[in-house]
């Protein structure tokens, strides 16, 4: 048998009763790696962590931790720390006791525990709350205690299940930073479940995207962000705008035919395997540029013609809903265009994700997002 990875899932499948949750998961994580796990709500992220931690026995496949097969090893023997999505704080212990419990288990000295707990509290902005019971904390404070409890033991392997979801942006940034610094300094191997795309991009060495219990793509943040392997991944990584184009490969390029609401264009194939015919084109609102209708647009990519339907201000730039043919797309601009104004929307070649689509229906399994309706 070949050398195992530090953490390894080998064709793991998993079910709750009749509900198949994970299927055929193969995942290797190296020592010291920081892996972000992304996926729609309910796709099995928590379950995957629970398989790693040993609370769920996979219905098939094997798990190995530290290069040892542990599929049937009980959780307390696996030496991992898990931050529970539901926090799972011990209601009968104070904040300090919750955080210090893991150290107590390791028979660390009383005074040492106290100082470690104090450090953890101040790291997480929990100073002064040490003597409170979890019931007397706010939601975000509870979440930080849960995080502190896992971090306090300096775990070799850290599993994080949306540990920052209830924190405000500022403290989230700071905790994110501390977490990453700690992880690097101590060489912690971390698997981090998050719904925050930016968080995953900034923190992770590798991003793993789960879709309906299977791995849809894994790779570096740039990879996943810029070279999504499927329409699902593209959509999941924010390329919510979708339009259908006709085109055909030509040499190292893909030629886009002019259509009712788009000009002809050309995009480098860059190794993508696209067949002639209808392609689904996906792009991010922030990658599109809006120009007044009369402006000539240059550069590779595709140019769409449309009419501004609505404008909103999410901060920093203006977000426009644009009618393009029978679709509505979102595009940002640094100035606001008026509703009804006719515009050209240019999507640069490197921001345009093309997929041969079976129909022209977008890959949209779990969420009910109607394309083009994602605006306020």
């Amino acid at each position: 048998m070949s050398q195992r990875a530090f953490l390894e899932l080998r064709s793991v499948a998993c079910r709750y009763g009749n509900t198949q949750v994970l299927e055929d998961i193969d995942l290797n994580i190296e020592r010291g790696e920081f892996v972000a796990l992304l996926g729609s709500s309910g796709c099995g992220k928590t379950t995957l962590l629970r398989v790693l931690a040993g609370f769920v026995t996979p219905s098939s496949g094997s798990v190995s931790v530290r290069r040892r097969e542990v599929t049937h090893l009980p959780p307390d023997k696996r030496g991992m720390a898990l931050v529970f999505q539901s926090y799972a704080l011990w209601p009968h212990m104070t904040v300090a006791q919750n955080i210090g419990y893991g150290l107590k288990l390791k028979k660390v000295q009383r005074s040492e525990i106290d100082s470690r707990v104090a450090a953890m509290q101040s790291l997480l902005g929990l100073d002064g709350l040490g003597a409170r019971k979890p019931a007397a904390l706010s939601g975000g404070q509870r979440q930080r205690v849960a995080l502190g409890r896992a971090l306090a033991v300096d775990p070799e392997i850290l599993l994080l299940d949306e540990p920052l979801s209830n924190l405000d942006a500022r403290i989230r940034l700071s905790v994110r930073h501390e977490l990453r610094a700690l992880q690097k300094r101590l060489g912690i191997t971390a698997v981090h479940v998050t719904h925050d795309r930016e968080e995953a991009m900034v923190m992770a060495d590798r991003i793993v995207i789960l879709n309906a219990g299977r791995i849809a793509q894994q790779g570096t943040p740039e990879d996943v962000y810029n070279r999504p392997a499927s329409a699902f991944v593209a959509a999941f990584m924010g390329a919510e705008n979708v339009i259908s184009l006709n085109g055909a490969p030509q040499g190292s390029d893909f030629l886009i035919e002019a259509g009712p609401s788009n000009a002809a264009g050309r995009v480098a194939l860059m190794g993508r395997d696209l067949a002639q015919g209808v392609v689904e084109a996906r792009f991010r609102p922030e990658a599109a540029q809006i120009h007044p209708a009369e402006t000539a647009v240059v550069g590779p990519g595709v140019t769409l013609e449309g009419e501004i339907a609505a404008v909103s201000y999410p901060g920093g730039h203006w977000r426009h809903a644009v009618h393009v043919g029978d679709r509505e797309i979102m595009a940002d601009a640094s100035r606001a265009f008026g509703p009804g104004e006719r515009v050209r929307v240019h999507v640069p070649a490197d921001a345009l994700f093309l997929f041969n689509s079976p129909g022209s229906q977008p890959a949209n399994t779990i969420s009910r997002v109607l394309p083009g309706k994602v605006h306020a």
Binding site: F55, P75, D76, M80, F84, S86, Y87, A88, W90, L105
Partner: protein, 274 residues
């Protein structure tokens, strides 16, 4: 309506039943404890009580406390296994097994344990026939140990049932969180699970304590030696002498003992609520 008033209104019916059916008659009879010969009031009955029965009072407290501790340990062990046990078959077996004694009335407990625990009872007979001991080694447990065994035998399932129910309803995640940090089963049980069911456990133990304080048949049927339990003394005072004065004094002593245990708990829980 204020919360306090509403609260009082809700407890009132139950309180009224207790007051009318027990506390009132109790007062009617308990004033007897302070009545000395000739109908005047005094503490003679208490003097006599402590003169004759101090040893029995201590005996009762020790026996009942010891039993309570053992019951607590047993109930936690059973509840813990039912909650943490990994083999579903073993858990099912235990679940099926442990409850039986609960259904046996105390008086029958006395009877069957008398025949089970005595020197030539079923326990020793079985041990002898299995070759574990010789007939000469057989000892009778029909003394204070018999009482303790009878109490533990009958009351453990009661507390275990309560505790196991409470344990089943604690958040599993909190257990998993501790396992995840490497807590052994034993630590899980005592540091995570038991504290979370502490209220139920204590309530069960107090109810047991109080029940055991008031059982007459077990001491009568298993151990009539001296010292014996207060209930036996009370029955004796009444039946042999028709002496309600000392009997009621003994009753008050027993009430004070039981209430003080409950009081400690109530004060503790009051602190936690605040």
């Amino acid at each position: 309506m204020s919360k306090r008033l509403l609260g009082l209104l809700l407890v009132l019916p139950a309180l009224a039943v207790i007051a009318a059916l027990f506390i009132l008659p109790l007062i009617m009879s308990a004033v007897g404890a302070f009545r000395v010969e000739g109908g005047a009031f005094g503490l003679d009955n208490f003097a006599k009580t402590f003169d004759l029965y101090t040893k029995d009072i201590i005996f009762t407290v020790v026996i009942v406390s010891l039993s309570t501790v053992l019951i607590g340990i047993g109930a936690v062990a059973i509840g813990g296994y039912l909650t943490l046990g990994e083999n579903p078959k073993a858990v099912a077996i235990l679940r099926w097994l442990y409850r039986w004694p609960m259904f046996i009335p105390f008086i029958v407990v006395g009877q069957i344990l008398r025949t089970f625990l005595s020197k030539n009872g079923m326990m020793n007979n079985t041990a002898v026939s299995l070759g574990l001991i010789t007939p000469l080694d057989a000892v009778s447990f029909l003394d204070w140990r018999g009482i303790v065994i009878a109490f533990v035998w009958k009351q453990t399932p009661f507390v275990a049932l309560l505790v196991a129910g409470a344990m089943a309803s604690i958040n599993r995640d909190t257990i998993e969180a501790a396992r995840n940090l490497g807590a052994s089963k034993l630590r899980l049980l005592f540091e995570i699970i038991v504290p979370q069911v502490a209220v139920t456990l204590t309530v069960g133990l107090i109810l047991s304590f109080v029940t055991m304080m008031s059982v007459l048949s077990v001491p009568l049927m298993i151990n009539a030696q001296s010292p014996t339990m207060l209930t036996a003394d009370i029955a004796f005072r009444v039946n042999a002498y028709g002496d309600y004065g000392v009997a009621n004094a003994l009753g008050l002593v027993s009430l004070v003992l039981a209430s003080s245990v409950a009081w400690i708990y109530l004060r503790q829980s009051l602190k936690e609520r605040a």
